[in-house]
């Protein structure tokens, strides 16, 4: 068992690109779910908006990649409006159903053969991130050289995405923190508690819910962009349902309705995920046999790990619903 390697990889998982794009997506979901109480199960759809915004600049529009940023934002605002207009007047569950379906529709449309000219079908889109890499090289970060110190050692390519990613995490974290301290955030938190009370006090609940859905969605869009830039490619199946639920798990792990929770949660999620994954792979290399039965094969590691995530989420909800940094007191009072 190679413990130093396991630990090194886990520590890298804490700050790696997966933690970054999860954190951005979780900050967005936290606005919707944590503060406003909107069950958005379609965060992957918003992430796809960002990724395809970038990708389509090269694949379809043939313009500079930087246009992809406003394009992605426009996509996600439109998506937010489309989902919100019919459902935000209804009870919360309807939004959950519509968002999960909408995200799947997006994924199926972008991977379809019919729209291959726009979205590149199931092959996705590659070769659009040149200009992003170039800014990094211009700033003196060599793509292939190693930077940092063990265990936090990254190639220049990884490092550049990580820098931008963490800057975005800091920016959005700060924005959301400021907003939630403002009267605007107070209205959102009140809506989470009781819509009718807020309405009777003269606030347009519908409009605030829409703002929250779109703000969280636009933040999620940036998560999709960071992910696409890191991979240098946009793949439709990277934006499927499970992404949304892993982000949600990470958010709950950290603690909802806390900005720190939405950042610490994803870091720990990927730290733990990498640890368990590496640990089980080491076991699988030297399998434990009971008679003819091999207890763990390397092909089973992935599935088992995801099962453990599910179990962890259940245990978390039962024993620590406020997450790691959540406010116990705030969670202690029942609805009414």
């Amino acid at each position: 068992m190679d413990w130093p390697l396991i630990i090194e990889n886990s520590l890298k998982g804490l700050v790696g690109i997966n933690a970054v794009y999860f954190a951005i997506a979780a900050i967005g979901m936290n606005v919707q779910y944590g503060y406003t109480g909107l069950l958005n199960f379609g965060q992957a759809g918003f992430m796809a908006c960002g990724a395809y915004g970038l990708g389509m600049t090269a694949h379809y529009f043939d313009i500079s990649m930087w246009w992809g940023i406003p394009l992605g934002i426009v996509f996600s605002v439109v998506l937010g409006l489309l989902m919100g207009i019919p459902t935000l007047r209804l009870r919360a569950d309807y939004l959950a159903i519509v968002t999960i379906a909408a995200a799947e529709i997006i994924r199926l449309v972008v991977r379809s053969v019919r729209f291959k000219t726009y979205f590149g079908g199931s092959d996705g889109i590659n070769n659009f991130s040149e200009s992003f890499r170039k800014v990094g090289t211009d700033l003196g970060i060599q793509q292939s050289s190693e930077y940092g110190f063990r265990p936090f050692q990254f190639t220049g390519r990884e490092l550049w995405t990580l820098i931008i990613g963490w800057l975005l995490v800091a920016l959005f974290g700060f924005l959301v923190y400021k907003l939630m301290k403002s009267p605007w955030g107070r209205v959102l938190k009140a809506i989470r508690e009781d819509e009718d009370a807020v309405r009777s006090l003269g606030k347009s609940v519908y409009s605030y819910k829409m703002q929250s859905l779109i703000l969280g969605g636009v933040i999620g869009t940036f998560s999709g962009m960071v992910f696409a830039l890191d991979r240098g490619s946009v793949q439709p199946d990277n934006y499927s349902r499970d992404v949304t639920f892993y982000v949600l798990t990470a958010l709950v792990l950290g603690g909802v309705a806390k900005v720190t929770g939405s950042i610490v949660g994803p870091m720990l999620f990927w730290g733990l995920f990498t640890f368990v994954d590496n640990f089980m792979r080491q076991i699988a290399e030297d399998p434990i046999k009971v008679g003819n039965l091999t207890l763990l094969q390397s092909t089973q590691v992935g599935q088992l790990n995801y099962m453990l995530i599910g179990l962890a989420l259940i245990l978390l909800m039962v024993f620590r619903p406020q997450g790691l940094v959540g406010n116990r007191k705030e969670m202690a009072f029942d609805g009414r």
Partner: protein, 292 residues
């Protein structure tokens, strides 16, 4: 008790005005703040509300009473646009309200509370209060980011909220979560929060339900206080002592209709009201029943 009570100037005027009003359902008032006409709401085959005409005198405390299922709360919901009637017109302070959305009514000066208290338990008491203020600059997200734009207004709001909390004996709970308050205190908080909107008409849905007798006395005083400050109060209540004690005018509903109107003394003598509450055959034995 009534004799030694003093009334503020607007209250005196309202009481005098009501003194000359006709004591019959749908009677006209000299200066109505709320006028409802032909308001009808059906749920399937059941007619929940069928109000032919109702006027609420400005500056008065008007009680809306009636047995369970009389349509009082539904009528409240209709007036504040939480529900839409099948037919009908109604106006507040001379402005027609049919097309007004529920969240706009508060800005127009008409605020309501709920039968089941809706205190926002996971916000602190002071945050509950601040939420009540209307026209907040910082409630626009683009302003919310810049504290300098809304801090000054927030301070004013906080000051107003604190003086209201003091008036309602909640000052010591200022920084507690509203969930930590007792049921009665939540009623007080909800009323205080409604007052943060600076209303002209306060509509209270069963303010006394689940409140202990000592607190009832102080709630009574608070409601009379609202009238003395020139607000109009319309409230639904089952506690007849309270209705008799504080209201200037009583409207009785039964099965969706208004069956009687008048001063508290008129109402307690009105046979139609006694019938509605206790059934038409009260006071007679079964034997008399079968003979009759």
């Amino acid at each position: 008790m009534d004799a030694e009570r003093t009334y503020g100037e607007p209250a005196t005027r309202a009481r005098e005005a009501l003194g000359i009003c006709e004591r019959s359902p749908g009677s006209r008032k000299p200066d109505p703040i709320l006028v409802a006409h032909d308001v009808r709401r059906e749920f399937g085959g059941i007619v929940a509300v069928d109000v032919e005409h109702l006027e609420v005198q400005r500056g008065s405390i008007t009680a809306l009473i009636g047995p369970n299922g009389a349509g009082k709360t539904t009528f409240f919901n209709l007036m504040t646009a939480f529900d839409t009637p099948n037919t009908g017109t109604w106006s507040f302070d001379g402005r027609s309200m049919e097309k007004v959305q529920s969240h706009r009514t508060a800005a127009m000066g008409m605020v309501r509370t709920f039968q089941l208290t809706k205190s926002l338990t996971k916000l602190t008491v002071i945050e509950n209060m601040r939420l009540g203020a209307t026209d907040q600059i910082g409630e626009k997200w683009w302003n919310g980011l810049f504290g300098s734009r809304w801090r000054a207004q927030e301070e004013q709001i906080t000051e107003r909220a604190e003086s209201l909390l003091a008036r309602f004996n909640l000052a010591h709970m200022r920084d507690e979560y509203a969930g930590a308050l007792s049921g009665g205190q939540r009623k007080l908080l909800e009323m205080a929060r409604a007052l943060m909107t600076n209303p002209r008409l306060v509509m209270l849905d069963e303010p006394m339900a689940g409140v202990n007798p000592a607190l009832k006395q102080s709630l009574n005083a608070h409601i009379r206080d609202l009238r003395d400050q020139g607000m109009t109060v319309l409230f639904v209540e089952h506690d007849m002592d309270m209705v008799h004690d504080i209201s200037d005018w009583v409207v009785v509903m039964a099965e969706g209709r208004i069956i009687a109107e008048g001063t508290p003394d008129d109402i307690s003598r009105n046979p139609a009201v006694i019938d509605a509450y206790l059934g038409a055959h009260q006071g007679r034995t079964l034997l008399e029943e079968s003979e009759g």
